[in-house]
Amino acid sequence: MSDTKYLFKRDQTWWVKITVPRTLRDVLGYDLRRSLHTSDLEAARAARAEVVAEFRGRIAEARARKDEALARACGAPLPSESGSASSAGFEITAREDFSDVTYLLEVHHPMLARAAAPGQFVVVVSHERGERIPLTIADFDRSAGTITLVVQAVGKTTREMQERCQVGTRLSALVGPMGIPSEIGKAQKVVCVGGGLGVAPIYPQLRAFKQSGAYVIGVVGFRNRELVFWQEKFEEYCDEFIICTDDGSAGIKGLVTDGIEQALARHADVDRLVAIGPPIMMKACAETTRPHGIETTVSLNPIMVDGTGMCGGCRVKVGDQTRFACVEGPEFDGHAVDFDDLMSRLRRFSSQEKQALEAWSEATAGARQG
């Protein structure tokens, strides 16, 4: 048998080729090859050894450099390498259950934690067949390299995540921070309102207002005392903190709008209000401040797909304009937003949502019995 180790022929010319070890392919490519500029096998064999030796040297060198880089990276990860979107996904590092529908997830993504600002959101895909859902960033810890998401299990995806997303598991995709960060501005006295799924997302904004020197009044709404969470966290950054519950079991009895009325009655000089929550609540907040002419910001949560401005599914009506909430929002002037349009568009997939939920419930029930 003829000896053609490391040799191959292309267009009558002999080449040397060495396959690069898998771990070095990102630096060296799939293989190293060089033409020997001869069509004669004997001549090629003679020239081979030198080239092979050189290639081996390059591979050894690349390996050494890589090891060194690796050691360096472990000490101080480069921004382009930490928190990158590996196929393995994004690890959940902590979880807390506030009630049987509300849960907190902490996800490891150092770059995202570094970039996140109040008012922004992320898009999450929980598993390969999952949908892309937007979730507001409820908190971020730059030193730990984590972001916090607080999720309400309302539909199929969020309920499934409630079951699947345990500490140590991974989200299949996580991208952000998306949207334009909140304008903290120069407001002197601010009311920050959070209700339902908006309680957690209002927190980073409230903190930012406090840190910018404003007098901050927090107003948050829950159904009852059992569902209250983060009270201490809020109180740390609030000059006044008003909890509103439907049944009066904690704080005042009533809706967040009652809390706002109370705050406005005490402070005639409130110059800004920010509300995050269900559209119906944000609409009521905007109506409460409208007669007072207080600048009111709301954070909209339309149905999204990509979150990058590419599909227009997230379009909302603000004044007489159509805006894409994912790239031009999510925050808009509450007095200009067409909430009825938003609420109608949020019902767009209600029948499919129901179908998905039923299919999933049956499947999981089946799995539990089986």
Binding site: R10, D11, R25, D26, V27, L28, G29, Y30, L32, R33, R34, L78, P79, S80, S84, A85, M111, L112, A115, Q120, V125, R129, G130, E131, R132, K156, T157, S172, A173, L174, V175, G176, P177, M178, I180, V305, D306, T308, G309, M310, C311, G312, G313, R315, K317, T322, F324, V327, E328, D341, S344, R345, R348, F349, Q352, E353, Q355, A356, A359, W360
Partner: protein
């Protein structure tokens, strides 16, 4: 050499491409045009006259040596044919499928003066597919030069630029906002026209060149361009973020249930696989009667995806005529065969709703063509009192897209008045070291133009970085650039970048 071919000696008929039967294919997402077999390709290649001064090469945006690759087919040297193709075009299997050949190379083919032009696109596709099947790659030996280059967006512009920079020896990272690569190739163009397996294979050849691909990374928001050039240590950046932002018309009824953009429809189906709902979580609310506004490639795709996703009747509403439609001729033909009803010279004026806020009908007005406008196309003018309604459940907008705003929002790059990135003839932007190309510069165009722009930007970047003779496979052993920029230590920041002509 064989006897010189003449128009009389070549096969007279264009070799037909086998296609799936229209009645069958509307029920599946498998590829419609099945592609040539080897015999078909050999026969069709014989039709090329091998003109001494081939017009087709000049009208190809990336100047593929069309005559040479076809000649190699006739010589049955398919591997060389592939090498010639990939010298100019990284993605022959893709471009052979989606390029508007009838307006480019095939439009100027002299054979087309008397007969049908040589089916250059089909031949390109055949060679590209053969290479994928055989596992051929044209990955050259790459000599690292120490430069780090970042690419924003993994659409055709981004990947073409990435490939060239990697071949030149740079360490290239591609950042993509979505969870999958390919840009419009993946989320827009459907499976039956461009199978995902083809995109995957082409991406694979990119990673084989050593290119790193990072999905789930929204550049501008996760880190800014300034950060990339500064703390992240990239020496140059290319932006190919596309023109994904869909337009609406601003007529009454656009926020009703059942009105969506073609991009949303296609993304739900292609990227998120809504067709397999509820196995896949993403739903799609498509009614039985769908009207698509517009008649470009996007519109054709939206219509044909609708037919395959359960729509019973699909209408196309376009304010000009078939002749002005910007779609590939083949796609219009396929849509017609599949039963799309075309309403040429028709424009919607209002979308009507039922009591629950769902779309129930569309009011349209008939148009006639007037004088040519700036684009040279005759301007459509509404015919007074010609309004009529027709019943519909879903309205899909495919009337074009605008610039994606994210990069503009998060950087100081100069934009033009429509929001596209400002770039000079070398595709350099207003920020030193940052180049841009593809739809984000030109507005929505074509795959091949985006690729051409990516390659052009790569050449400019190489000049900017001072990389010489980048095409050469045999770079000198050590050019001493590691850790240095123009021979100056990177750590030393007391010099400013200049652009080299």
């Amino acid at each position: 050499m064989a006897k010189k071919k003449t128009i009389r000696t070549i096969p007279q008929e264009r070799t037909p491409i086998p296609v799936q039967d229209a009645s069958l294919r509307v029920q599946n997402f498998s590829e419609v045009a099945l592609g040539y077999g080897k015999e078909d390709a050999l026969l069709e290649a014989e039709r090329c006259l091998l003109c001494p001064d081939p017009a087709c090469v000049k009208s190809c945006p990336v100047a593929i040596d069309i005559d040479r690759f076809i000649e190699k087919i006739t010589e049955k040297d398919f591997r060389s044919s592939y090498d010639i193709l990939t010298d100019a075009n990284l993605l022959p299997a893709i471009c052979g499928r989606v390029c508007p050949q009838e307006d480019q190379c095939e439009a100027v083919c002299p054979v087309g003066d008397t007969l049908e032009p040589v089916a250059i696109g089909r031949l390109e596709r055949w060679v590209g597919d053969l290479a994928l099947a055989e596992g051929w790659t044209s990955s050259p030996h790459i000599e690292p030069n120490g430069f780090r280059v970042a690419i924003v967006g993994s659409g055709p512009a981004g990947i073409a630029c990435a490939a060239d920079m990697a071949k030149a020896g740079c360490e290239v990272t591609v950042y993509e906002a979505l969870h999958a690569t390919g840009g419009v190739l993946r989320y827009g163009i459907p499976e039956f026209r461009l199978p995902n397996s083809v995109i995957d294979a082409e991406m694979e050849s990119l990673t084989r060149l050593g290119v790193k691909i990072e999905c789930n990374t929204l550049v501008g928001r996760l880190f800014t361009l300034e950060q990339m050039l500064d703390e992240m240590g990239f020496h140059a950046v290319f932006i190919g973020s596309g023109a994904g932002y869909p337009s609406f018309m601003g007529i009454p009824g656009e926020s009703l249930h059942g009105v969506l953009s073609a991009n949303e429809l296609l993304t739900r189906c292609n990227l998120m696989r809504a067709g397999e709902f509820p196995k896949y979580d993403t739903p799609l609310d498509l009614g039985a009667r769908v009207a698509v506004i517009g008649a470009g490639n996007t519109a054709m795709d939206a219509m044909r995806v609708s037919l395959r996703s359960g729509a019973e009747k699909v209408h196309c509403v376009y304010r000009r005529t078939r002749d002005e439609s910007p779609a590939r001729e083949e796609e219009i033909g396929h849509a017609e065969e599949e039963g799309v009803e075309f309403h040429w010279l028709t424009a919607p004026v209002e979308i009507l709703a039922d009591a629950e806020g769902n779309v129930s009908a569309m009011r349209c007005i008939r148009m006639e063509l007037g004088e040519p406008d700036d684009s040279g196309r005759r301007r459509p003018i509404p015919i007074e009192r010609s309004e009529y309604d027709f019943e519909i459940d879903t309205v899909v907008y495919a009337i074009g897209t605008n610039a994606n705003p994210v990069i503009g929002q998060t950087s100081k790059l100069a934009l033009n008045k429509w929001g596209y990135l400002e770039a000079d003839e070398d595709l350099a932007t207003s920020m030193a070291g940052v180049f841009a190309g593809g739809d984000i510069v030109t507005g929505a165009a074509t795959v091949i133009l985006a690729m051409g722009a990516g390659r052009k930007a790569a050449r400019s970047m190489q000049v900017y970085l001072g990389i010489r003779d980048s095409e050469s496979v045999y770079a000198p052993e050590h050019i001493g650039n590691e850790g240095k920029l123009f021979g100056i230590e990177i750590g030393e920041r007391n010099f400013s970048r200049v652009r080299v002509q």
